[in-house]
């Protein structure tokens, strides 16, 4: 069983088996186990399972690749949609025309004339000093195309 000769090459080992009963018995047992035969179908089944698993993994890998590419494309499109308008905004501002400049004042300040009845002369009195503040003009169209209501509003919000 535990003879040191066990490790020797086969010719010497066979000689040893003739004289060592324990080693002979163990060798017979080991030979019986070595003879264990497996049906070819069992090998074929293992091969089939391995190949099927590999092919399934390949299909999964392809699916994941395409999914990742599609997701990356979606992200790129979203990023482009978000970033591109902001980069184009200054150009749009440059291209836009300035609104027409309104000449102020639209209405000449009217000097209030006070007619002095007793003297018969009219005194030209300077009207209230108006600062030439920019005025806002609000035009309101009415049903009648000949009638347009115009509001002149100073910066304080007072109508003139």
């Amino acid at each position: 069983m535990n003879c040191p000769d066990w490790e020797q090459d086969s010719a010497e080992f066979r000689e040893h088996l003739k004289v060592c009963e324990h080693c002979r018995e163990f060798e017979e047992n080991a030979a019986a186990m070595r003879d264990l035969k497996v049906a070819p179908a069992a090998f074929a089944a293992v091969r089939q399972r391995v190949l099927s698993e590999i092919q399934a993994k390949k299909r999964r890998a392809v699916w994941w690749t395409w999914s990742a590419m599609a997701a990356a494309t979606c992200v790129a499109i979203l990023c482009a949609a978000y970033l591109l308008p902001s980069t184009q905004r200054p150009a749009a501002l440059v291209a836009r025309k300035d609104p027409p400049k309104i000449e102020w004042p639209l209405v000449q300040p009217v000097s209030h004339r006070i007619h002095h009845k007793s003297s018969g002369r009219s005194l030209a009195q300077a009207g209230p000093v108006r600062k030439t503040e920019p005025l806002a003009v609000v035009k309101m169209l009415t049903d009648d195309p000949n009638v347009i209501i115009i509001w002149l509003v100073d910066q304080k919000g007072d109508s003139l």
Partner: protein, 192 residues
């Protein structure tokens, strides 16, 4: 004694086969499996004692081989690598399924080449007895005995596969043979 080195005339073909496998050729991988299936399934069957589990272990070992092909530069490394992986997979499965307990061989019967039916029966029963004795061994001793005595590897090769020294493997085999001898004697005394 098995030798890891392939014959020179086959080495070139095998290297070409490995290159084809590395390019994803499944037919080539099928050939590679055919060349190693007896080794893998036979070892797994002796270590696990159950054909269904052995097939699972063999499948796992071959899948690991497929994943690791790029790390194996030489086809001569495949055989010891497969032994190592098969033993590891079987140990993992054995630990995971320890609660289930050992089962008798569910698939193949130990075949015999004996022409005499009575001798064939004795041979077959002897195989069963060894199989039962193997089940009583700790996993390292069982692996050492299976690889050394049933797969026919040298002590050095077994040491390389199990990651032990040759002295350790000799000791494990010696202890394992003693245990198996005791088991078979006790079994035969009890049943005969």
């Amino acid at each position: 004694m098995a030798d890891f080195r392939l014959k020179a005339e086959h080495a070139g073909q095998s290297a070409g086969l490995l290159e084809r496998v590395k390019t994803g050729d499944l037919d080539a991988f099928d050939q590679l499996m055919r060349a190693n299936e007896k080794q893998v399934l036979g070892t797994a069957l002796r270590l696990l004692g159950n054909l269904e589990d052995a097939q699972d272990a063999a499948q796992e070992a071959f899948l690991r081989l497929y994943k690791s092909l790029n790390r194996l530069p030489d086809i001569q490394e495949i055989r010891p690598w497969l032994y190592r992986v098969t033993v590891n997979v079987c140990n993992d499965m054995h630990r995971a399924r320890r609660r289930r307990g050992w089962e008798p061989l569910s698939g193949p019967e130990p075949a015999s080449t004996q022409p005499d039916p009575e001798l064939a029966w004795v041979h077959q029963e002897r195989g069963r007895l060894v199989e039962m004795a193997l089940k009583t061994l700790p996993e390292k001793e069982r692996a050492a005995v299976v690889l050394r005595d049933m797969q026919g590897l040298t002590t050095r090769e077994v040491a390389g596969i199990l990651g032990s020294s040759e002295v350790t493997v000799r000791s494990q085999i010696s202890v394992a043979r003693g245990k198996m001898k005791k088991f078979t004697d006790r079994y035969l005394r009890k049943h005969l």
